[in-house]
């Protein structure tokens, strides 16, 4: 294990490096410290970044740390910047590797960081680069396959939900039917969502009684939000309608700015409700949600209250159809005491019993807990238990 002194020197170095390497990006989009690194899902990135970098959004100062080690949270991509993926360097003198741009990529980077190779030998190569010890934790909005003694442990971070968001375009003939279209799109049934995402260019769905046509948008194909949205509405990539626009497989998740409806058009796209709340509450660093609204499904609204005090609807979040538990993923060995790889910092960051760990959901109602921060970012108490997996 590194001595604290070494770590402190490294911290200075990485700050300097970061200053040079990322001058074009938003100043605080990527971590500014050394210590432990976390990569993966963009759904969790705003909340985890806030906890890692320190936040006063609850009125109290909350900053997580692992036994004195700073947590560096690396975004999946930079919000509001198309194709903001590029490469990252997580540790002093470490190799530069492709930025993991989602849950699956983050977990793969974590597995490669510990050399896991499906149970046979070791493999530290992630997208052609050796990433040994470069990643300590991962954010994940999807689940691996539960297996006893899996090398990864999934510790619940919170409960999220999937819904859709929409924008209504301007009214072409000025007959005032934009309001009717907005009302119509604000509450869809599951079957209507299925029909929208299987509609063809030849027969698009129109908003009855108005001039408006609905244009469904699709997210980039590696998005966990996209794949789980499709499975929830019973559509496969094969049965996806030709009317769905994926803009060449480039649309990032949870970005309200991609909704650009033309005249007499309504655009809709799947969204993580927690991420929407986090942005709309201005808890996140960037709010792309101006003008974008989250729709209800089958008459249940995913959100209560109004910005900047939006809060999750428990009914929606805990529904088997739309709710999902999101996780912090950690190598099992690093949190198993007695294991040679045991790391007190990683253990502290993921210990659900600690008020200021990433995973706290205990009884305390104090604004100084990580739980209070996560609530502001639109997460509610997780419904699934911790488990282990190999993927």
């Amino acid at each position: 294990m590194k001595s604290k002194k070494l770590v402190a020197i490294g911290a200075t170095a990485v700050v300097a490096l970061a200053g040079i390497a990322f001058t074009g990006a938003p100043a605080f989009a990527d971590p500014v410290g050394d210590g432990l690194s976390i990569v993966g899902s963009d759904t969790l990135q705003d909340a985890v970044s806030a906890l890692a970098n320190g936040t006063t959004i609850t009125g109290s100062s909350v900053k997580v740390s692992g036994n004195g080690l700073v947590l560096g949270s690396w975004d999946a991509f930079t919000l509001g910047v198309t194709g903001g993926v590029g490469k990252i360097q997580t540790k002093p003198f470490g190799n530069v590797f492709d930025r993991p741009n989602g849950s699956g990529a983050g977990r793969t980077a974590l597995l490669r960081s510990i050399g896991y190779n499906g149970g046979s030998g070791t493999n530290y190569i992630y997208n052609g680069v050796n990433v040994q010890d470069q990643v300590d934790l991962a954010r994940s909005s999807s689940r691996g396959t539960v297996v006893a003694g899996g090398v990864l442990t999934y510790v619940p971070f919170g409960q999220d939900a999937i819904s859709f968001m929409y924008k209504v375009g301007t009214d072409g003939d000025g007959d005032g039917d934009a309001a009717a279209a907005a009302t119509w799109i604000s509450d869809l049934t599951l079957n209507e969502l299925t029909a929208l995402y299987t509609s063809t260019t030849g027969s698009p769905v129109t908003v009855s009684g108005t001039d408006y046509v609905v244009k469904p948008l699709g997210l980039q194909s590696s998005s966990g939000t996209w794949t789980s949205f499709l499975s929830k509405i019973g559509v496969t990539t094969t049965s996806l309608g030709s009317g769905v626009d994926t803009r060449g497989n480039t649309i990032p998740e949870n970005d309200g700015a991609v909704l650009t409806p033309t005249v007499d058009q309504v655009q809709i796209i799947p969204v993580s409700v927690a991420n929407y709340i986090g942005q709309a509450n201005n808890a996140a660093r960037i709010n792309t949600m101006a003008g974008a609204s989250v729709g209800s499904i089958d008459g249940v609204a995913p959100i209560t209250g109004s910005a900047p005090n939006l809060a999750p609807s428990t009914v929606f979040y805990n529904s088997p159809t739309w709710g999902r538990t999101v996780f912090i993923v950690v190598p099992t060995a690093k949190i198993t005491s007695g294991n040679p790889a045991y790391n007190q910092g990683v253990f502290d960051l993921t210990n659900p019993a600690s008020l200021t760990s990433l995973t706290y959901w205990g009884a305390s109602g104090s604004p100084a807990t990580s739980k209070a921060v996560k609530l502001r970012f639109g997460f509610s108490a997780p419904q699934d238990a911790a488990f282990t997996a190999n993927n």
């Binding site: 396959t145 006893a148 510790v155 079957n191 499975s231 929830k232 019973g234 094969t238 699934d384």
Partner: protein
């Protein structure tokens, strides 16, 4: 029911049963033939062992059950082999589909177990269930609990332990015990201290007994909004799963039976076992205690033929496979008989070999040998069966249409009937619907309106129940029809059925249908409109993917029609795909494969299925999948049943000059047969007595004799009987077969002479037995029950003459056999004509 008006899709088994009886009565009035067995609806032979179980009867804690009103009916519970059974239910709840995080809500899980609960012999033992192979949330043998150790139910406690990591909750793992006693346990208990630990070296869901690739469990099947549903379940015997060992031969007091198993129907609610969703195992006691179970009785497995018995080859028709399999264990034990193994290959090849080679396999065919010389073969009809369109289409009402509530409530439940016309079949086989072609490319060569799928075609809606118009169905698998590769008489019969219909013929020739739809030009029978410059011939025995469309998405590999809509291996496989809802969709692009390739798409879950397939009536019956009703030349939509196939047999006319091979071809006789299923096909056993030694002649004759005996032609599910999907041979046909068998035994004869013209109907044939009035030598040409009196094949539209299309391999074969000079000449002659046909401008 057999009128011009399309029948409303039968929504219940009772209703379709009634229609079957009506058809039966009508046919009975026409047929004075005493069929070998009583004519029965094809589905009825198995109904004797249908069982219904309810939660109220079986579950002592019914009030707390996820679906207290659930009543489940299993279509067949006795004499099971490796096959499909139909599981249907009422009293369920509207289901929610599974996602990556949980198993769904208000659904059923269906799987098999082999052992009885030691404490209650009326229930299965959960440790003996093939469950967990799906390995998806809510469908595993193990799970981390949302409970503390103290909250774990006593029944689950022996299988539960804690991990070394304090963040992890208790872990419960249900062991699996195979029938031979071998087992896998996930929890180790110290024999001294009793301390339980997790054995991390064991994966209970991927084990030596079953995996996701071999298991037959259904991890999720949903109910429609009205709480009803149905699904076909794949029954596995010890041959597919030795761990379950169902059907293993067990001899008790001299009687051999098959080992029984359990079918378990496990209702799951929105949450269970302490979790807020269905993330836990259904084998945990909180779920398991609500399981419904039905005992399944199997036919004994194993070779019941005498060891060392001589083996004889049959070659040709896939249509006869299931009948031959059923006859085999009985016929092989008869004096003078042998073990008969059927090799499926194109029938035209099989008959050519039978006619020209010495000691060739007994050919099974539906069409006669194509020859201009005298046909040396003896033809014995052994089965009446057919080709059918299987379907798995679940309702998906269009949410944007104002439709009756009854339609909305039926969402996600399967359609149980559909009507197809020859023109609709032509549209499906010619890739004329948009979704059948890979997306993302220029399809402007398709002129006129082209619906995405057949279910959106006004041509389809015009002949089907109005409920279809309320659906919003999509997907490639209902824009085409899954077909087998290669050549077969079945394909020939399908094209002949299409060619015999004036509307379909006009459509294929490039004439727009009444709604303006025009055929995909690559299949146009008008050479001027076909981009190849050649006409697409309907006189063919294959099902080609003729459209050369290809699209290459960015950074991915090219997709052509075969990549997009792959062939199946054979007709039976298509029925199995239908059972599983596997539409052969293209999967994701795998750039790391060597060479890079597209993977296989996942199957559609019950409740969201939409596919059509071309299969045999017998395979459709075995897997108990839904089949389409086809419009016959009389204008009626008729489903394939024993009765409708018998009605077609009655209206069959000669396909060859000698009048010895019959087929259901359009003509005045067919147009009068309102109850006839138009794709009915007889299967003939064909042999050339002049080229077989005495042993083979006796062996082939013994096979034909048993196959056409009353035992072999009695519909039933016992060994030696005629399986479902076949119609028992009418007496006159059986007489013909006996005469042919006698002719085969008798050996070489002079060149057979054509049967004399005969104007007798089947009725008179029946009374006469069909043989005494022929005045011909029984050993030279077996008399047929219904010769048409003319050798011409009368198709209403005039199909071109049969094209032999003999393969190169056969040509070589002929060349090697000096004795077959006349056949060679005939082949060359017909080949020349064939070439001329193709080069026609």
């Amino acid at each position: 029911m057999n009128t011009e008006i399309p029948p409303r899709p039968a929504r219940t088994a009772i209703r379709s049963g009634v229609s079957g009886i009506v058809v039966g009565t009508l046919v009975w009035g026409v047929l004075t033939v005493a069929a070998v067995a009583s004519p029965a609806d094809s589905a009825s032979a198995a109904t004797g062992s249908t069982v219904t179980v309810t939660v109220q009867d079986q579950d002592p804690d019914a009030d707390d059950a996820p679906m207290p009103d659930l009543a489940v009916t299993v279509s067949q519970t006795e004499h099971l082999v490796a096959q499909g059974i139909r599981v249907s239910w009422t009293g369920g709840k509207k289901s929610i589909a599974p996602t990556g995080g949980h198993g769904g809500a208000n659904f059923l899980q269906i799987f098999m177990c082999w052992g009885d609960d030691p404490t209650n012999p009326n229930r299965p033992d959960r440790n003996t269930c093939m469950y967990g192979g799906a390995n998806t949330p809510g469908a595993t043998r193990d799970a981390f609990r949302n409970l503390t150790m103290g909250e774990i139910p006593a029944e689950d406690l022996p299988y539960t332990a804690l991990s070394a990591n304090p963040f992890l909750p208790p872990y419960t793992r249900i062991p699996f015990v195979a029938r031979d006693g071998s087992r896998i346990d996930g929890i180790k208990t110290d024999p001294v201290t009793g301390v339980r630990t997790i054995d991390e070296s064991v994966d209970l869901n991927i084990n030596q007994f079953f995996t996701s690739y071999s298991t037959n469990e259904i991890p999720w099947v949903g109910s429609g909004d009205d709480g009803t549903g149905a699904v076909s379940f794949e029954v596995q015997t010890a041959a597919q799963s030795s761990a379950l060992g169902c059907g293993t031969a067990v001899t008790t007091a001299g009687v051999t039976t098959g080992a029984s198993c359990w079918l378990v129907i496990l209702p799951r609610g929105a949450f269970d076992n302490g979790s807020s969703t269905t993330t836990q195992s259904g084998l945990f006691i909180d779920s398991w205690k609500h399981a419904l179970a039905v005992k399944l009785e199997f036919d004994p497995l194993g070779n019941r033929c005498p060891l060392g018995a001589a083996e004889r080859q049959l070659a040709g028709s896939e249509l006869a496979t299931l009948a031959v399999n059923s006859w085999q264990p009985v016929v092989c034990n008869q004096t003078g008989a042998s073990v008969y193994s059927l090799l499926t290959l194109p029938e035209s090849d099989a008959v050519l070999t039978a006619a020209t080679s010495s000691d060739a396999p007994l050919a099974l065919t539906s069409y006669p040998l194509k020859t201009e010389a005298a046909d040396p073969l003896q033809y014995a009809p052994i089965a009446i069966t057919g080709v059918t369109v299987s379907l798995a289409i679940d309702r998906r009402p269009d949410p944007f249409k104002n439709i009756p509530d009854a339609y909305k409530d039926a969402a996600h439940t399967p359609f149980t009937s559909v009507n197809l016309t020859p023109r609709l079949l032509a549209k499906l086989l010619t890739y004329s619907y948009l979704s059948a072609l890979p997306p993302g490319t220029d399809t402007s060569y398709l002129t006129g309106p082209h619906p995405d799928t057949v279910t959106k075609d006004p041509d389809f809606l015009a002949v089907n129940d109005p409920e279809w118009a309320a659906q919003d169905l999509s997907g490639a698998a209902i824009a085409d029809i899954i077909v087998p590769q290669g050549r077969s008489d079945a394909a020939r019969a399908v094209w002949a059925y299409i060619a015999a219909d004036a509307d379909a013929r006009a459509f294929l020739a490039g004439t727009a249908d009444p709604w303006g739809m025009v055929v995909n030009p690559w299949y146009c029978t008008n050479a001027a409109k076909n981009p190849t410059g050649n006409a697409f011939s309907l006189d063919r025995d294959d099902l080609p993917k003729a459209d050369p469309i290809e699209v290459t998405p960015a950074n991915l590999g090219p997709i052509n029609l075969v990549t997009w809509r792959p062939y199946a291996n054979d007709l039976s496989t298509v029925a199995y795909f239908t059972l599983r809802g596997d539409a052969q969709f293209i999967g994701g692009w795998d750039p790391f494969a060597i060479p890079p390739k597209y993977g296989k798409g996942t199957r559609m879950l019950p409740g969201n299925q939409a596919l059509l397939g071309l299969t045999t009536t017998s395979a459709a019956a075995r897997y108990q999948v839904v089949t389409a009703s086809l419009r016959n030349p009389a204008g009626s939509f008729v489903p394939p049943t024993a009765n409708s196939m018998l009605a077609a047999a009655d209206a069959m006319t000669a396909l060859d000059k000698a009048g010895r091979v019959l087929g259901f071809v359009a003509g005045s006789k067919a147009q009068a047969a309102t109850g006839a299923y138009p794709l009915t096909m007889p299967v003939y056993a064909a042999a050339n007595p002049g080229k077989l030694d005495a042993t083979l002649r006796t062996a082939y004759s013994a096979f034909i004799t048993y196959a056409t005996s009353s035992a072999g032609q009695t519909l039933g599910i016992d060994s030696g009987q005629l399986p479902n999907g076949y119609a028992p041979l009418p007496a006159a046909w059986a007489t013909t077969a006996k005469a042919a068998a006698a002719a085969i035994v008798a050996g070489p004869t002079p060149t057979p002479t054509p049967a004399p013209s005969q104007s007798t109907s089947l009725n008179s044939n029946n009374s006469s037995g069909g043989s005494s009035d022929s005045g011909d030598d029984d050993t030279s040409a077996a008399p047929q029950p219904t010769p048409s009196g003319t050798a011409d094949v009368v198709l209403s539209g005039g199909v071109t003459p049969e094209d032999p299309e003999a393969p190169a391999g056969s040509a070589l074969l002929i060349g090697l056999i000096a004795a077959a000079v006349s056949a060679l000449i005939a082949w060359i002659t017909s080949r020349r004509r064939s070439i001329r046909t193709w080069s026609r401008p």
